[in-house]
């Protein structure tokens, strides 16, 4: 049975005419009377990994929150394949920052991944065989099968992140929104997560992550949106992180960039 939700974009990175595109147009957001984002527009397709880059307070988290439907924009629109993004809750999966998670919470890796089935099952339906197979597959894909009965706090940092990614896979989401996933990772940890995100994107997903480290952005993400309350540059990462753009975004506070 193939419904439109089961669609897989084989060979991601190809151009799909009019489809599988996240289009953001004229997005504005404010906390109370303080405007945080104004007139953000970009479009991204499945197969891409995209970084949201900017100084502290630039609105990276706000933009992620808007995309995840955690807050309402004051103006503008977001659509996925031409349909309003938040009419399809299962399509976006959100991954919190590591420091935000209560790692002592009494759930196992499997419990966490099963949460991803919620948008499909709703409140009343329990997990069926189909759901259990999807959870098994997600655990297997991220090499967590042997760890599935561990409490989440008893995992290494990399394993914890894979567990959250497995939840996104179980959700069968096309758009993965990650809040600073590379914070606190050592170099091998960073490289393996970067490879993992790339392979998830190649299978036809769109990865969007806030990212604060300019020196690693080009290694990890093929596209970037540089912002500081407004969009300063958008496109392939190397081009976006151009001297002049960075000066506009970060001003004199800018860190030196190692190529």
């Amino acid at each position: 049975m193939v419904s439109e939700h089961d669609h897989i974009c084989w060979g991601g990175g190809h151009h799909h005419s009019g489809g599988h595109t996240l289009a953001v147009e004229g997005l504005c957001a404010a906390y109370g009377k303080t405007a945080v984002l104004s007139d953000i527009s970009f479009s991204a397709s499945c197969g891409q990994t995209m970084a949201l880059i900017g100084p502290n307070g630039a609105g990276k988290s706000t933009l992620l929150n808007l995309l995840a439907g955690l807050m309402q924009p004051t103006a503008g629109a977001m659509s996925w394949n031409g349909v309003p993004l938040h009419s399809m809750r299962h399509e976006t999966a959100f991954m919190p920052q590591r420091t935000e998670v209560d790692w002592r919470f009494p759930i196992t890796v499997r419990d966490l991944v099963e949460m991803g089935r919620y948008p499909s099952t709703g409140i009343w339906r329990s997990l069926r065989r189909h759901d259990i197979e999807i959870v098994d597959k997600a655990l297997d894909t991220l090499e967590l099968t042997e760890l599935q009965h561990r409490q989440i706090g008893a995992l290494s940092g990399g394993q914890q992140q894979r567990a959250f990614l497995a939840r996104a896979l179980a959700q069968e989401a096309h758009i993965l929104l990650l809040d600073e996933p590379f914070t606190g990772l050592d170099v091998p940890g960073m490289e393996s997560l970067a490879a993992l995100l790339r392979s998830l994107a190649e299978e036809g997903r769109l990865i969007i992550a806030s990212h604060h480290d300019l020196s690693t952005a080009a290694q990890i993400f093929d596209h970037s949106l540089l912002l500081n309350n407004r969009a300063i540059a958008f496109g392939p990462t190397a081009g976006v992180l151009h001297e002049q753009n960075l000066h506009t975004a970060f001003g004199k506070r800018r860190l030196t960039v190692t190529p």
């Binding site: 929150n65 995840a68 439907g69 955690l70 809750r89 299962h90 976006t92 999966a93 959100f94 991954m95 919190p96 935000e100 998670v101 209560d102 919470f105 009494p106 759930i107 196992t108 419990d111 966490l112 949460m115 919620y118 948008p119 099952t121 409140i123 409490q151 939840r167 959700q171 929104l177």
Partner: protein, 279 residues
């Protein structure tokens, strides 16, 4: 001992025993919410803030079960939501607002109760008097306990996502804010229904200790609810049996026993106990 057995045949003793079991279970069950949300102190302040609601209800309507309940719920909500409102204004943080509002409310309640000439009753509201529970009180405790268990069981899956990862829950389309208010309302309902047994001061112990104990014994969230209920129920019943021969205050005995059970688990839990390596 014979005297005690004789006492147990009295209806008031049976009623108190049932009250211990029902209130202990309901509190223990709901305590998992408090522990998983890590909001023990907030709940503690709110339980004390119920006092002015009770006092005002007595002032306005006299001793009426229902009006006292409603008054307590309104006072709890006013302090809980009021502190959130002050915190959202950005002028003071939530802890500060909650501390000021709840002590103010508590003091106000105390003044009203004294002015009403209810000094003797004050102790009962603060520390509980399980022997004074009427049949209606017992039914109310049954009802709120049943509502809490039913609501939590039916909504368990989305509830757990909300408790663990509220942002992802919202992104999945779960009405996280409605769940927050629902959790808050359930907690207040159970708090109020157990006020007569353990009082506004002590109720926090019964509302936290059972699930906190279970957390030391299990890594499964569902077991925190049911195990918490069991610990709350058995601990309270045991406390009732101990309090009579010892001549201790029953409500206080319940809380002391819950504390002892927690400390025992903290020391001896096979998984997380302090002494697990040395034994």
């Amino acid at each position: 001992m014979n005297e005690f057995l004789q006492f147990l045949t009295e209806p008031i003793a049976l009623r108190s025993l049932w009250a211990c079991a029902v209130i202990g279970f309901a509190n223990g069950f709901v305590s998992a919410l408090v522990v998983l949300r890590r909001s023990s102190l907030q709940i503690g302040t709110i339980s004390c803030a119920l006092l002015p609601g009770i006092a005002l209800a007595i002032l306005l309507f006299g001793f009426m079960q229902l009006s006292i309940l409603i008054g307590a719920v309104i006072a709890g909500l006013m302090v809980g939501l009021g502190s959130l409102f002050i915190a959202r204004s950005g002028k003071a943080d939530h802890d500060t607002a909650l501390s000021i509002l709840h002590t103010t409310a508590f003091a106000l309640g105390y003044i009203i109760l004294i002015r009403l000439g209810l000094q003797q009753k004050v102790d009962d509201w603060l520390f509980g008097n399980i022997m004074s529970m009427s049949n209606t009180d017992l039914w109310i405790a049954w009802g709120t306990g049943a509502i809490a268990v039913l609501a939590i069981t039916v909504l368990y899956r989305p509830l757990l996502i909300c408790l663990f990862d509220p942002r992802a829950a919202t992104a999945m389309g779960i009405p996280t804010r409605a769940f927050s208010y629902g959790i808050f309302a359930l907690i207040i309902l159970v708090l109020v229904s157990s006020l007569q047994a353990v009082g506004a001061f002590l109720t926090l112990g019964l509302m936290v200790a059972p699930a906190a104990t279970m957390r030391l014994l299990t890594d499964r969230a569902a077991l925190m609810f049911w195990g918490g209920g069991l610990i709350g129920c058995c601990g309270s019943v045991l406390a009732f049996f101990l309090s009579y021969p010892l001549g201790w205050h029953p409500g206080a005995t319940i809380i002391v026993l819950q504390g002892c059970i927690f400390l025992t688990a903290w020391l001896l839990s096979p998984k997380y106990g302090l002494l697990r390596h040395r034994s």
